[in-house]
């Protein structure tokens, strides 16, 4: 190192020393429906953007179609291996929120 070189780390240290603790830069609130949708995305991909072709992408489907499917899974009128069991864990208001969230996501867009 050159004798008078100030590394970026030391320069930043000096800068931070002159800074009083400031309020957290508040993020925008987590989008409506995102938390509940995150209960689905372990299997259906982040934001409903599916990897692979075993399942259709939830992201970008019509809200009405998604809601109809979810309600049919819950009622047991649409057969499935697992969704008939999972859909029963949500009330109708939650199913509506899930359908709205996934309908609003870009299909296969960058995360």
């Amino acid at each position: 190192m050159k004798p008078n070189a100030i590394t970026p780390a030391i320069a930043l240290t000096l800068a931070l020393l002159g800074t009083a603790a400031s309020a957290t830069q508040a993020a925008e609130p987590i989008p409506q429906g995102a938390r509940l949708a995150a209960t689905c995305t372990s299997c259906h991909g982040t934001n409903g953007q599916i990897q692979g072709n075993a399942l259709p992408s939830l992201a970008g489907q019509q809200k009405e179609a998604l809601l109809e499917s979810l309600k049919a899974f819950k009622a047991g009128t649409r057969p499935a291996t697992i969704m008939t069991q999972i859909a029963k864990g949500y009330n109708d208001e939650q199913l509506e929120a899930l359908a709205a969230y996934f309908a609003a996501q870009k299909q296969g867009g960058a995360q």
């Binding site: 590394t7 372990s42 299997c43 399942l55 864990g89 949500y90």
Partner: protein, 421 residues
């Protein structure tokens, strides 16, 4: 400025001022310890949901993530360990997470600092611990003999051990016996041992048809998907798998490859696979956070904050679970999301969601293709202050199918992507 400089600067600041509280400047900093299903998910979702306004450092000793789910297929021979191994580069490049391949050696909850094995000290506003499990070798005295743990494998943390156990199975002559011991519940991955014996039996049925599989279970009955597994053993692996419940292994004679039960029963095997009893990962226990039975960490299920220390959140297999919540990778991924949302809220002066919902899905491969599942939906009960299964939700497969095999493969691809890309 880059993140490394920033971290060096904060470390220097802490050293020069001795005051952690002002470190971090105007941007909050979350340190995540452990890059498995829980920690990697939490790190990514904190960055995503804070729109990049919270800095995240992920401390993970391994150079790459190796999945425990599906690792039994390596023993069965239908997958390679490389198929289950993924790097952390997307977390670094796409989400600007500072990934340090290092280990946490100590935590100071009062100063809010983590000291790493390398000697570096990280300051945090909030800490996420996803430390996995630590084996309690002292409960099996023979396993502490020098070299014992290289001879008798657990393969309950995927990676080298998984590959080594597969090699032992390959080297075993036809007509030999593979025996596996299961510790008392709760343990990591409730259906895992039962899936494992299916995989080994599947391999034997094709390549070593005179060989046997013996499952020595400390529990009184099959802990997960019991009727399904028992039917598979009877229908498909009738002459191969023998299940022995209430065999609590309390010692191992390593040189004789013999498991010894609490009652003194001895079972000798050609390949002996011992899953020791375990508890929360060492760093959690060492910090005094394993406050339930000195094994598991109690948390507030709204935030996953420790009931023992403020600003420390604990997720994954290390926690004291709620009723009927399994210690699974899927569950850890779900913990990570609830915890991430709560941390983003708390660091933005908002109230966290008061009724979080989580799901669980565990697929088990009973051959190279056929799969069964168990699923559940859990939601917060304010009166009981815990997560409870939503009545009527969840269930198991009626029978193994190839269709569920395709869904299991899809599950793995998507959950790995959900945590790592």
């Amino acid at each position: 400025m880059n993140r490394r400089n920033f971290l060096q600067a904060t470390a220097i600041l802490a050293a020069t001022t001795g005051c952690a509280s002002i470190v971090g400047g105007s941007r909050p900093h979350v340190v995540v310890i452990g890059g498995g299903y829980g920690g990697a998910t939490a790190a990514k979702y904190i960055r995503m949901w804070s729109q990049g306004s919270i800095d995240v450092t992920l401390v993970e000793p391994g150079g790459a993530f190796v999945s425990c789910p599906l690792s039994n297929l390596v023993l069965g021979g239908s997958r390679k360990i490389d198929d289950l191994t993924m790097g952390y580069h997307y977390l670094e490049r796409r989400y600007n997470i500072n990934v340090l391949h290092d280990s946490a050696s100590s935590i100071d909850p009062a100063k809010r600092t983590v000291r790493l094995l390398s000697g570096a000290v990280l300051n945090y506003d909030r800490l996420v611990l996803s430390p996995g499990i630590e084996f309690l070798w002292n409960e099996l005295p023979g396993m502490s003999v020098e070299g014992a743990q290289e001879k008798i494998l657990h393969a309950w943390k995927a990676g080298q051990q998984t590959v080594a156990l597969r090699k032992q199975l390959e080297a075993m002559p036809d007509g030999g016996t593979f025996a596996m011991t299961i510790p008392p519940a709760p343990y990591r991955c409730p259906p895992g041992p039962y899936e494992r014996v299916c995989q080994v039996a599947h391999y034997f049925s094709q390549h070593k048809p005179k060989s046997k599989v013996l499952l020595l279970d400390a529990n009184e009955d099959v802990v997960s998907k019991g009727p399904l597994f028992k039917k598979v053993w009877k229908d498909r692996y009738h002459n191969i798998i023998e299940y022995r419940p209430s065999f609590k292994t309390t010692d191992v004679d390593v040189s004789a490859r013999t498991a010894i039960s609490e009652l003194g029963d001895k079972v000798k095997a050609d390949v002996l696979n011992v899953v020791p009893p375990h508890r929360a990962g060492a760093i959690a226990a060492q910090t005094g956070l394993a406050n339930m039975n000195k094994r598991w960490c109690e948390v507030d299920f709204i935030t996953f904050e420790s009931t023992q220390a403020k600003n420390i959140h604990i997720i994954g297999d290390a926690i004291q679970v709620s009723p009927l919540m399994p210690k699974s990778g899927h569950m850890a991924n779900q913990h990570g999301k609830v915890c991430a949302a709560a941390i983003v809220d708390l660091l933005s002066a908002r109230t966290p969601e008061q009724a979080p919902t989580l799901t669980n899905t565990c697929y088990s491969y009973i051959s190279d293709k056929d799969v069964i599942h168990v699923a559940s939906v859990h939601t917060y009960n304010a009166e009981k202050k815990t997560l409870l299964i939503v009545p009527g939700s969840g269930g198991v497969s009626p029978a193994p199918t190839e269709l569920e095999g395709r869904y299991a493969d899809s599950w793995a691809r998507n959950i790995w992507s959900d945590m790592l890309t």
